[in-house]
């Protein structure tokens, strides 16, 4: 059979901050899908691994005008001068040209953590402990995703395992192209508010491409010039101000609460 390469895609997301309720289902689904090890008792919010992490922001106003919103932050899959890929000394970070996904190779990672210093979105997480699952919990492991070892960095890869599974299914049916919705990361699937839309940003017919072009969409830290592929949407001006801010939000002492 002649090799027909599918058209390269550029997968991205549009996350509606007005729909996000902060329930955290995306975080749980992500951890379950990707075999993230359970946190040790000594772990803190700064040493735990959450490929997807929901932040809480507030408008800083006193009661009864105080309002909260939730911002899910995951790897932004930076498309230009990807900070982490540029700095990894072992080339353990690779951008897949067919999907635009920034892939992390934990088996090549030395654990130098330079990529973690480089990532402005703090989307990279280090295995400070040996991953361990309590007896019986190993039954919950997803057989399609490799676990990592201690001392290496890991991060969201848009559930790359699911992409491979979808491609395998399509190939079994004799197709090269994937139908929209056939490949969805776990967080997208799990969100009860359907706040996350996923798809090919380069496909003009896809919903995510339409939403990305929409005036309500913005990207976080856009001025750093890394071309992230996660678009955030909101109609609330204060949320936009708090999240689309190019730099640190406010003076010390007035910063929003961090989840």
């Amino acid at each position: 059979m002649a090799a027909i390469t599918p058209k390269p895609a550029r997968y991205g997301m549009a996350i509606d901050l007005d729909r996000c309720t902060g329930c955290g289902a995306c975080m749980i689904a992500c951890a379950a899908e990707n075999n993230v090890p359970p946190a040790r008792p000594e772990a803190t919010p700064r040493t735990g691994i959450t490929w997807m992490r929901v932040y809480q922001i507030s408008n800083g106003a006193p009661f009864p005008d105080s309002r909260a919103a939730f911002v899910p932050i995951l790897c932004q899959q930076c498309g230009k001068e990807t900070p982490c890929a540029a700095v990894c000394p072992q080339e353990a970070v690779e951008t897949d040209p067919a999907t635009g996904i920034v892939d992390q190779m934990p088996q090549r990672c030395l654990g130098c953590r330079y990529c973690m210093a480089a990532c402005p979105y703090h989307a990279r997480y280090f295995n400070w402990w040996d991953p361990q699952w309590p007896a019986g919990m190993e039954k919950t492991l997803n057989p399609d995703v490799a676990t990592r070892m201690r001392g290496v960095v890991e991060k969201c890869n848009f559930c790359h395992g699911r992409l491979h599974a979808a491609r395998a299914r399509a190939a079994a049916e004799g197709r090269r192209e994937l139908h929209p919705g056939e490949y969805l990361p776990a967080c997208v699937e799990a969100c009860p508010a359907a706040a996350i839309v996923f798809g090919d940003l380069d496909d003009p017919a896809s919903e995510v491409a339409r939403l990305a072009r929409d005036g309500q969409s913005f990207r976080i830290l856009e001025r750093l010039g890394t071309e992230p592929k996660i678009y955030y949407r909101t109609t609330r001006p204060w949320v936009r101000k708090a999240a689309a801010q190019p730099g640190p939000a406010s003076a010390p002492g007035k910063e929003p609460v961090h989840a």
């Binding site: 030395l110 001025r223 010039g225």
Partner: protein, 412 residues
């Protein structure tokens, strides 16, 4: 009274008795053992033994590695001045500088092996190098340079009183010494690049506007600033260590004009450094940082890192020692000379601290707070192990090798 120990010491110099030496060595050996235990915990149990975390991916170790490598730059710079520019007065301190350089670099490499999550994978960088990454450049250069320092250390060891009686050692040392300018040249080339790349590590971080700088071609300005500051700090550190060893051993080790000369070299290099750093800071405040959406004053709103840090780095620890070291009258006064040299070295440490720790403390995400970090005892212990290792290696080298060729002539 000659004994087996005195047979190993250089002739014509006095050293402490074996018992006195043992009393000196023991506490450092104990510190080394304690530090190795701390490091061992990190290796065995994992890096959770440190207080580093996902926001403070770099901590005490990286900050100290960068500082000791900058201070150890005295080895390459003295070698460059002596063997390439033929400033023969530096023969008085070159051996000591090489030993200190070797200690600094080997200690830093040892600390790095504990710092990475998978030390056994260190060779991956050599097998899959990312030639665009500053850290790859640092890895290659530092490995090569450590080799150069080792090769430069060998002749000093081979000239030990007992070892030199073996003719093949002495003849090999003689032939190697003829090629010392080659080694000095290679060492200078390598040091130029890795001191620079250590600065480049931070200058290229587009995601950290506090550290990010524009520059020349692929090299951000921090690349050049680090080279200059290391070249300025090297002689100052040699000055300090020579004085310290002289004090601890109670002997005059170099002729009186040597230390002020080192101070002058340091001062001369500080001037262009301060100038370029000031220009760089202004450019950063004015255009680089705002272009990325961060106004410079915002960084300094987070306590305790106020604008005083910038002032301290450039004026207190940069301009002030430069002015002192450039005046002959002040240079010749030990109090002024040593204070100025200390300020230079502290300034280098502050500069490395700002780029490592402050960079990571400052928030990048709009809804992030300021982070703080304090090292754990295991981290501190590991660093102290490196210090103890350095003191022990230097002590043995000082006792049995000729680190200061002028000592013999000054001791009668």
């Amino acid at each position: 009274m000659p004994n087996a120990d005195t047979q190993l010491m250089p002739r014509g110099v006095r050293r402490s008795t074996p018992r006195q030496f043992l009393l000196w060595i023991l506490p450092w050996a104990a510190l080394l053992a304690f530090g190795v235990y701390g490091a061992g915990l990190c290796l065995v149990k994992g890096l959770n033994q440190t207080h580093m975390d996902n926001r403070f991916a770099f901590g005490l170790w990286i900050f100290l590695d960068l500082t000791v490598i900058a201070l150890g730059a005295g080895a390459f710079f003295t070698g460059f001045l002596l063997y390439i520019l033929k400033k023969s007065e530096l023969k008085a301190v070159i051996n000591s500088a090489v030993v200190i350089g070797f200690i600094c670099y080997s200690g830093a490499v040892a600390a790095l092996l504990v710092d990475v999550g998978q030390p056994a994978r260190f060779w991956f960088t050599f097998w899959h190098p990312n030639v665009h990454s500053m850290l790859t450049e640092v890895t290659f250069c530092i490995s090569c340079y450590l080799t150069v320092l080792f090769i430069e250390y060998i002749p000093i060891v081979l000239k030990n009183r007992k070892l030199r009686q073996i003719p093949s050692f002495l003849v090999f040392e003689f032939e190697l010494h003829k090629l010392m300018p080659v080694l000095a040249g290679v060492g200078t080339f390598l040091s130029f690049f890795h001191q620079g790349s250590l600065g480049g590590l931070y200058g290229v971080l587009r995601g950290r506007p506090f550290a990010f700088r524009e520059g020349f071609a692929i090299w951000p300005s921090t690349f050049f600033l680090f080279i200059l500051s290391a070249a300025a700090a090297g002689p100052a550190f040699i000055l300090l260590t020579t004085w310290l060893v002289s004090k601890v051993s109670g002997k005059q080790l170099v002729r009186p004009e040597v230390l002020p000369m080192l101070g002058r070299i340091s001062g001369v290099l500080l001037v262009p450094y301060i100038l370029l750093k000031s220009i760089d800071t202004l450019v950063w405040i004015d255009s680089t940082s705002p272009a990325r959406g961060f106004a410079a004053y915002q960084y300094y709103a987070w306590k305790p890192f106020g604008a005083w840090i910038l002032f301290a780095e450039i004026v207190v620890f940069g301009l002030a020692p430069a002015l002192i070291l450039l005046r002959r009258r002040l240079r010749e006064s030990p109090a002024w000379l040593l204070s100025a040299a200390t300020l230079v070295c502290l300034g280098i440490a502050l500069n490395r601290f700002v780029l490592t720790i402050q960079t990571l403390a400052l928030p990048t995400l709009p809804f992030d707070p300021f982070m703080s970090y304090l090292p754990s005892w295991q981290e501190t212990a590991t660093f102290l192990a490196v210090v103890a290792y350095g003191v022990l290696l230097y002590s043995f080298s000082f006792r049995y090798l000729t680190l200061f060729p002028q000592e013999k002539d000054l001791s009668c």
